[in-house]
Amino acid sequence: MQGKAWYKYLLSLPPMAYLLIFFAAPTFLMFFATFRYAGEYGGLAPWYLHEGGRLTLDLTLENWQRLLETDIYLRLFLKSIGYAVTTTLLCMIMGYPLALMIARSGHKNRDLLLLLVILPFWSNFLVRIYAWMIIFSPAGALTRMLNGALELVGAGPVTLMYSPTAMLVCLVYVHLPFMVLPLYANLEKHDLDLLDAAQDLGAGKWRRFWLITWPLSLSGITAGSILVFIPVLGMFAIPDLLGGTNGIMIGNVIKQQFMESRDWPFGSVLSMVLTVTAVAVVLLGSRLGRRREGR
């Protein structure tokens, strides 16, 4: 049964055909669209001209030129990468103790503690953003308490809503489980005898951590970082709802090109750059992970 060719195709062809049509083809068409003109009423103009019985291609490089004309888009990308890096680091700082605590607790509690990390993750993405809109709202308790305290020291009132801080808190909140789960999976496999041996040899708590646990957990950190970095990089909903005008990320501009300005070719250019960045990050991460496992 294993050797029969028809069986192999029976299994692999249907999903392959589906993904070729609905994933590979759209991605290719988007790449192609970066060389086309925008349609008069949005969308795309035809990619060929019909003149005097002859077909000629009607393609252009001007969408790519527009990307490079100003440094607006470069800065936007750098800013988005900045948000993604910061979020990843914050997730690491918050997620590491949690993952370590779960991995080092008794077998009985472990499943429950892990479930408690996943549970909020199962509530809707928008609900989780909405929760922070309530917390940061100008009328909310947090803002009023903060401003009350600031008034005592004579500082002016602040608004939390529509600020980069609000955005970052929410970005971390939404993506934290992506860091905790792979980290836990890594930390749980560590051989605790190593730590005991180091202790017997006189290594202190922090030394044991830095010389044993931390280096062993690097592949877990890499996996978690990729899982946090990629979705944050393409995020548009959180800046949209919590970021205000200063919090715009590359995702917002892509959304704007496709839904509001309806300049699809330029939207496609920005999307392609995002795709390439994401692919580069994944490849880099998996190479780092492999090298660590090899040596």
């Binding site: 993904l19 370590l100 080092r104 909405y130 809109m133 990729i226």
Partner: protein, 257 residues
């Protein structure tokens, strides 16, 4: 083992607080008798009452349920095939096609599918949303099935074949029952992903059709109202019921992970 590290427990405890406090606030204010989500005024059910008279919301909920059911069914079949193929053969293209959608930011799949559907002259609506949801669900089912299958003993199938069972009978009586926990885990994942998806639906929905997350988005865009708290609370309750129901009916789904 070592003694408990107090610092570790305290910091982990704070992270749990960070994870749950916002959701608790959403739930608590859904019962608050005030338009503002700011101060506790008194207990009320009225936001839930309003919700059940909101035709748009009910329609969106219905759409979400239809889309999730159809997408889960289709993605489970395609994903199971893909997972089995990836486990049994050394393939190159299929794993790439299965894994790439998982590794890409959602927005890219959203805009490229929008482009694709418009280029093939498809009217955006329930069907385009379903086709999109199937695309991103296949990978998760395939991974769950592949993981399950790699822990399966291939000798079982070989033995059955030696004893004269047809390939179909072999599949029905040996492979399928053994893979079932993986398939169900994948299906559960697909269902929750589909019900929850906002980004890809946002781009592929068109003007006429709305889903629950889209409805929440448009409400939240306009104003923060307790009605959103009520629908959020119900949505959390639904997911909780589905997950605990599944774990009761079929505990093996969760043991595999």
């Amino acid at each position: 083992m070592q003694k408990k590290n107090v610092l570790l427990w305290v910091s982990a405890g704070l992270v749990y607080l960070f994870l749950y406090l916002p959701l608790v606030i959403v739930v608590v204010f859904s019962f608050n008798d005030s338009r503002l989500n700011a101060e506790w005024v008194g207990f009320t059910w009225k936001w839930y009452g309003k919700l059940f008279h909101n035709r748009e919301m009910l329609g969106a909920a219905m759409n979400s349920l239809i889309i999730a059911t159809v997408s889960t069914g289709t993605a489970t079949i395609l994903g199971t095939l893909a997972g089995m193929a990836m486990n049994q053969y050394r393939l190159r293209l299929l794993p790439l096609l299965v894994l790439s959608p998982i590794a890409m930011p959602d927005i890219l799949m959203g805009v490229s599918l929008l482009l694709f559907f418009i280029m093939v002259n498809m009217t955006l609506g329930l069907l385009s949303i379903m086709l999109a949801h199937i695309t991103f669900c296949i990978g998760f089912v395939a991974l769950a099935v592949q993981a399950r299958m790699s822990s399966m003993d291939p000798a079982l199938v070989e033995a059955a074949r030696d004893l004269g069972a047809s390939p179909w009978r072999c599949f029905r009586e040996i492979t399928l029952p053994l893979l079932l926990p993986g398939i169900l885990a994948g299906a559960l994942m697909a269902f929750t992903l589909s019900i929850d998806d906002f980004v890809i639906t946002f781009f592929t929905a068109g003007v006429g059709s709305s889903t629950l997350p889209l409805q929440i988005y448009s409400m939240v865009k306009i104003a923060v109202t307790p009605e959103v708290n009520a629908v959020s609370t119900l949505l959390m309750l639904l997911t909780l019921v589905v997950i605990t129901g599944a774990s009761r009916l079929y505990p093996a789904i969760f043991r595999g992970e």
